[in-house]
Symmetry: C2
Subunit: 227 residues, 2 copies
DNA sequence: AATATATTTTAGGCAAGTCTAAAAATATTA
DNA sequence: TAATATTTTTAGACTTGCCTAAAATATATT
């Protein structure tokens, strides 16, 4: 027998509050103050108080007057679902539609509120169950599990002989992009770190069967995740 | 020099009214009455009057008390953009995510309100600029041009010995879908009309080298375009 | 044409989500 | 600890989009 938890339908605004509370809880390990939430939501403290009462009545947060709020288990589950959808859509926009990783946030912000768990599942499958989004942030799986331990890292912090996937570059100067392009390196490129030269902090990697040397500057601007 | 028309941001509700007015204008070739619109929107006539005043103030419709409404040029443009987005998303859901033809309407109803013309363009390109959605309805192009040029037609209105491509079905009963599935017929399937039997209005087609007989009912529910 | 019926609009109200201004509680500091 | 400053809540109001009930207008019928 399968147990299906009926999850209440939330408004876009309610969902955004849940997400904001989750984000603050992750950053500061404390209850979330009204002002912090107002700041995060770009609204007034009085509006926050109103909403906080409503979410509390729905048991998505615990709220005590003048003492801030905390997400309940159910609230956390909703936040993670939203993050999952957001990151899956960002991955879709970059990998399938060819958007730049810097242009997808706003659109994903809208897409994450589309209601259909089947859509999320199918999107996940279509993208081949990605573990990280284009910004290197982990994508929660369907059960809400987030692999926070394997976080995206800089190429300079990798282990030798290990395989990685390029998920981003921080320097976006045309010359750097051209340099990567010339070598065929792109988002999604699978590379292996061969050697690290301490004298100039350059490294050599294996990519597409070829060995490529990357300067210190290049290395510092490439973000990877373990493959 | 490119002229960019700044289009005002509309609420989901406003957009839905515009779409509803457009739909009624297409069906009946007349001004749209308050009651007809209330029926279409599943709401009360008084609510319609309220909204109609607002849309009129925004010059998206012309409205004269007790005389019904008509979309302005700008209103029509918005309606067509919404239809374009709706049909592109439906195509995406069916062709890329593997949804059934019958399950995509509700989701597309949400997706069509996502604001980003770049997203629409890129989605269109990703889908290879489809001309018809999974239901056989034409997809307006970026300039709002709808190729109604009688391309999509019912299988019952085809010419013998001609090649066609299946672009949709109107009956969405599971048994009918299963029936098509068993024969391997799908959206995009290339068929040739072999013969038409007047006594029971069934036809025989060639598909994948095999000859398949389709009953009158089946025929009436399949939409094709000339190949 | 006068009356009956149907349609549409107005008037007033409600919920969601926001705001400002003022009051209440908490935190800081002299 | 008492005064001051900050944070949070309350009270009342606004907008959007909807509602009901009643009034106004248009249409149909005798």
């Amino acid at each position: 027998m399968t147990i299906k938890v009926i999850m209440q339908e939330l408004s876009t605004s309610e969902e955004n509050y849940i997400k904001a509370i989750y984000a603050i809880e992750q950053a500061e390990r404390d209850t979330v103050s009204t002002n912090a939430l107002a700041e995060q939501m770009q609204t007034k403290a009085s509006s926050v108080t109103d909403m906080v009462k409503k979410l509390s009545a729905k048991s998505l947060i615990t709220y005590e007057k003048y003492k801030g709020v905390t997400l309940t288990e159910e609230g956390i589950a909703i936040a993670i679902k939203l993050i999952r959808k957001h990151r899956l859509w960002e991955t879709f926009l970059v990998e399938k539609l060819g958007f730049g990783w810097d242009e997808v946030h706003e659109i994903a912000e809208q897409l994450e509120h589309i209601q259909s768990s089947k859509l999320t599942q199918k999107l996940d499958a279509f993208l081949n169950y990605p573990k990280f989004d284009p910004h290197g942030d982990p994508i929660p799986n369907e059960d809400g599990v987030i692999h926070k331990n394997e976080k995206a890292r800089n190429l300079s912090e990798t282990d030798l002989q290990e395989a990685y996937i390029v998920i981003g570059v921080s320097d976006v100067s045309p010359s750097f992009l051209k340099y990567l392009d010339k070598n065929g390196i792109n988002i999604g490129s699978k590379i292996k770190v061969l050697q690290r030269y301490d004298f100039d902090q350059s490294i050599s990697i294996e990519f597409n069967g070829k060995e490529i040397n990357l300067s210190k500057t290049a290395v510092q601007n490439i973000t990877v995740i373990p493959n």
